[in-house]
């Protein structure tokens, strides 16, 4: 049991961070809860370090498995937590505008409806919920038991609904409602699937499922997948993504589209391998194509940057599902999936960080002339967006290269072609964003920038470029 706990040390650390943060946050005066975030960052970093050096192998009677995939999920999720916690530092009150806009009468408009002081310890709640969701995402990545998986889906998803609702204006609440209702229904579908598989196999551990045959397990598998797709934001459980991201602040959007997704996709990968008799790869391939195509097409005409980004994440999940679909056909699938996940996280966070740096400019028209006023931010944005396209030298290129190689190597060249066509289509709306950024804009007297978000954006942009060089360091997976 001690060994089990040691194996689970990263999760435990993050959870501990959440609990301690809650305790500390309760004692701090509202609105001055930076220490909670600091604590969270500290524990997340510790978790990442422990994840790298810590023990591996199965734990808790085989309900949990720590392998390369789990390690990568833990590190990436912990990293995402660190980044979003830092980003959240720019916003003393997630519901209101950033601190820096409070004094300017002629300044940019606020995102929220009002920005009155609050007694709620929103910061603490944000940090705690984020960390709890991160624990859920980590557990998703390592779960090898359906019951644990179901519990992890709950843990990964539920705090996010509350997180979205922290804004507590009309839009944020609607976002929270939609996220919550989606997660509830699809979570129940997953539980239905779990029940069905349990009834069929008499057990919920993955090895016990391996012998299942026939159509019934396939239905059960689809139902379980439904819950994971919801967490990942993939078609057909993607409906919450645009609405929730559009309704909340960029920082919350970053959380919604990052943490749970990382664990969920690895969980899908594990499931795809768990029951050989079920054609999960084929179904995942269908979902992948649907996700990327729908996400890209729907993003075409968007003018709200958050909504555009939300659809872009839907399409990115589509790309991410491609290696999952090839999990049984090529050994390149897993390294590709993990690499792409990490790359996607860095890049997606970078773009959201750019949005978070100027939370008053969330429409495409408001990006005009950004390059003149804030060249650094513009460069970070360009790197991020081109990264999402999959252009070298950004790290997503390595991911996309992997996806294509895996597709061809796995004998699914058609998937590769679909990915390429979709990448081309996605260019249209990414360039629609980049073009005004680098055009001459109207002179704006004041264009404040959230300092931490800018640093984060730049840092992640650099990481997304340097990261591809650092691939040298990645051992053969």
């Amino acid at each position: 049991m001690t060994a089990d706990v040691l194996t689970l040390a990263p999760e435990a650390l993050v959870a501990l961070g959440a609990v301690l943060g809650l305790a500390v946050g309760t004692w701090l005066p509202p609105g001055r809860e930076g220490a909670v975030r600091g604590l969270g960052v500290l524990f997340a970093v510790a978790a990442a370090v422990v994840a790298v050096v810590g023990p591996r192998g199965p734990a808790f009677d085989g309900t949990y498995l720590v392998d390369t995939a789990t390690t990568v999920v833990r590190v990436v999720v912990a990293g995402a937590v660190v980044v979003t916690l830092v980003l959240a530092g720019d916003r003393p009150d997630v519901s209101g505008g950033p601190r820096l806009t409070s004094g300017g009468s002629g300044g940019p408009r606020l995102t929220g409806d009002e920005a009155e002081p609050t007694t709620a310890r929103v910061d603490t709640a944000f940090a705690v919920l984020l960390q709890l969701s991160a624990v859920g995402a980590m557990l998703l990545g390592g779960a090898t038991d359906l019951l644990l998986l179901a519990a992890a889906v709950l843990l990964a998803g539920l705090p996010l609904a509350a997180l979205a609702g922290l804004g507590r204006d009309g839009r944020a609440t609607e976002a929270a409602l939609k996220y919550f209702l989606s997660s509830a229904l699809f979570g129940l579908l997953a539980l239905t699937g779990t029940t069905l598989l349990l009834g069929l196999a008499g057990a919920t551990a993955y090895p016990a499922l391996a012998g299942l045959t026939g159509p019934a397990p396939a239905v059960g598998m689809i139902l379980v997948l439904a819950g994971l797709l919801m967490a990942a934001g993939a078609v057909p459980a993607h409906f919450w993504v645009p609405d929730a991201v559009d309704g909340t602040s960029p920082v919350t959007g970053a959380v919604l589209t990052t943490t749970a997704k990382i664990g969920a996709l690895v969980a899908v990968w594990r499931l795809a391998l768990a029951v050989p008799a079920v054609p999960t790869p084929l179904l995942v391939a269908i979902l992948a194509v649907a996700s990327m195509t729908l996400g890209n097409l729907a993003a075409f005409a968007q003018t709200s940057l958050r909504r555009l980004l939300a659809y872009s994440t839907v399409s990115q999940v589509g790309y991410l599902l491609v290696p999952v679909a090839l999990a049984r056909d090529t050994g390149l699938a897993l390294p590709t999936l993990l690499g792409y996940l990490a790359a996607y996280t860095v890049t997606n966070l970078a773009v959201f960080a750019v949005l978070a740096a100027r939370p008053h400019a969330l429409e495409i028209g408001e990006q005009r002339g950004l390059a003149r006023r804030h060249p650094g931010l513009a460069v970070a944005l360009a790197v991020g967006l081109l990264g999402l396209v999959g252009t070298p030298p950004t790290i997503v290129f390595a991911g996309k290269l992997g996806v294509l190689t895996a597709a061809l190597d796995g004998g699914a060249a058609w998937l590769g072609v679909v990915v390429v066509v979709n990448s081309i289509a996605s260019l249209v709306y990414y360039l629609r964003w980049i073009a005004p950024v680098f055009s001459a804009g109207d002179p704006v007297l004041r264009d404040p920038v959230a300092p931490r978000a800018r640093v984060v954006a730049l840092g992640l942009a650099v990481l997304s470029v340097v990261g591809s060089v650092a691939l040298v360091l990645v051992p053969t997976l």
């Binding site: 409602l177 939609k178 209702l181 989606s182 229904l185 699809f186 579908l189 026939g214 159509p215 396939a218 239905v219 598998m221 689809i222 139902l223 439904a226 078609v235 057909p236 459980a237 409906f239 919450w240 645009p242 609405d243 008799a277 079920v278 054609p279 084929l282 179904l283 269908i286 979902l287 195509t293 729908l294 097409l297 729907a298 075409f300 005409a301 081309i424 289509a425 260019l427 249209v428 360039l431 629609r432």
Partner: protein, 625 residues
Amino acid sequence: MTLLLALLLAVPVLAGLVLLAAFPRATGAPVVAAGGVAAVVTSVLAVELATARPVVGVPVFVVPLVPGITFTYAVDGLGAVLAVTVAVVGALVLLAAAGEERLRRGRFVGAVLVFLGAMLATVTAATLPALLAPWEVMGAASWALIAFDRRDPAVGPAAGRAFLTTRSADVGLYVATGAALAAGVPGLAFAELAAADPAWTSLIAAGLVVAALGKSAQLPFSGWLSGAMIGPSPVSALLHSATMVAAGAVLLLRSAPLLATTGWAATTVAWAGALTAVVLGLVACCQRDLKQLLAASTCSQVGLMVLGAGVGASAGAAGLLVAHAAVKALLFLAAGGWLAVLRTRALPALRGAARRHPAVGVPFTVGAVALAGVPPLSLWWTKDAVLTGIPFGEGGLAVAALLATVLSAVSATRAAWFVWRPVRSPSIRRGAEQPGRARRHVPVAITAALAVLAVPAAAVGAVGVAVGLVPGADPGELLTTGVVVLFAAAATWALHSRPVRLRSSLWGRAAARVRGWLGLEALTGPVVGTPVLALAGLLDRADAALGAAVPRAAATVPVLARGVERHGERRIAAAVDRFATGVRRLGDLARRPQTGRQHQYYAQGVIAIGVLAAVAVVVVSAGVR
């Protein structure tokens, strides 16, 4: 010796380039001196090479192009003679040019030197690339020289036409080179061409012939030469004597063995030469412009050389080339001298010019008489050497050659007649009698050059025959041509003195037509220029349409659609529109499920999952993995 040869090629080119690049605007004595020194050094080098050659063998100078293929230059017999001719004539032309104020410029002298260098390289080239390179340089240099008076709006088109015509013909040389490579000619050497793979010889020959005819202004390429007369007279002297126009003849002389092996090329060349000789001879006879007369006559004479190359009378043709070089340089420089003083080159306006300026007139007359082919001057000997080479069976060629001889006698006499008429020309009188204006002298430099040139113009033929460079012709033939030429000259003189007025306007119109070079120059417009430009315009529009038609990304599609519409391509526009609309509609379609209503999300999600489950059941039941 290789060093000497390298110097021979390098001195004029480098000196010219230095003048061109560093001192294009320098004027006056330093420039003249520099040019003169370079030219004299070149001449000395040429003479040195020519005299040393029999003793030390053929000097060779090699520059690698790509491994296995080189620019090789060698001074063989023909090369030696031609090199000396080119160098000496060039030096004299430079000397004459020094007489004209506006030509004492670095730009001009430099270009002439480069041009000379290129010609020297052409005559010493031993491989095809070695020929091709200076060949093209010569074309470009001629462009620069003809367009020397850059303010004159007429020089551009004339220079361009000269360059473009020769350049177009040069395509043949590229083809020939490629074909020679294909035929496996070792090192692409001239000497090996005749032994090339027979499958390719025709192509090689065709390419060479086209290039040579173009450069030599033979039919049907003659047109450019007329326009080229707009250049300064020394330039004309250079182009028409030993360089440029002669280069084609040189090329044909060099490739004569190859032409002979093809079975058709030699005949074609011979007939092209003969035809040019006759037709342009006729053109020369009708000219009222001295320089145009001389130009047409050049074509005609070069036609005889080409004829010689075609029939295998290489030595005779080479002799004719040398002699003609001296004669034509002399005549053009003299024309230039009068032009400088009298500001005219119209024959009627030049009446009495020789009397007024005997220092020019006398050498001019020597040249004209030589050009007419009057014995015992140089052209008589050399031309007959060519005539002798015509095979017995080719009666047509012989007749044409004889006719050309007569025509050249007529045109030369015509020129001489005008300049020796008593002064009645109003322009000359006016110029002479204008008060307050000093009488203008022909520049000393020109006079000196003329004096020097008169000697070879008169004597080179006889000397050549004497030393054996030019084959001696059959005495009977010599006599015949001599008599015919004298008769023709006398008749011409007489006819000019007492002109027969023909009543027919047809004759007049025909003469005008011939005077206009049969419209050859104008023809390049409608025959080549206009269609090419039209095609270019057409392709440009097509290109714009192509640019518009290739579907762009959805964002730019509407703009594109408008662009295409402007080009009147409704159908493409409609298709592009449909594509754009289609993509937009797809985008809208993709957004339609996102209604914002949770219960619809629920329904869609459940249905999708249900369908997916159904698919899974079907797939599993069907046994697909």
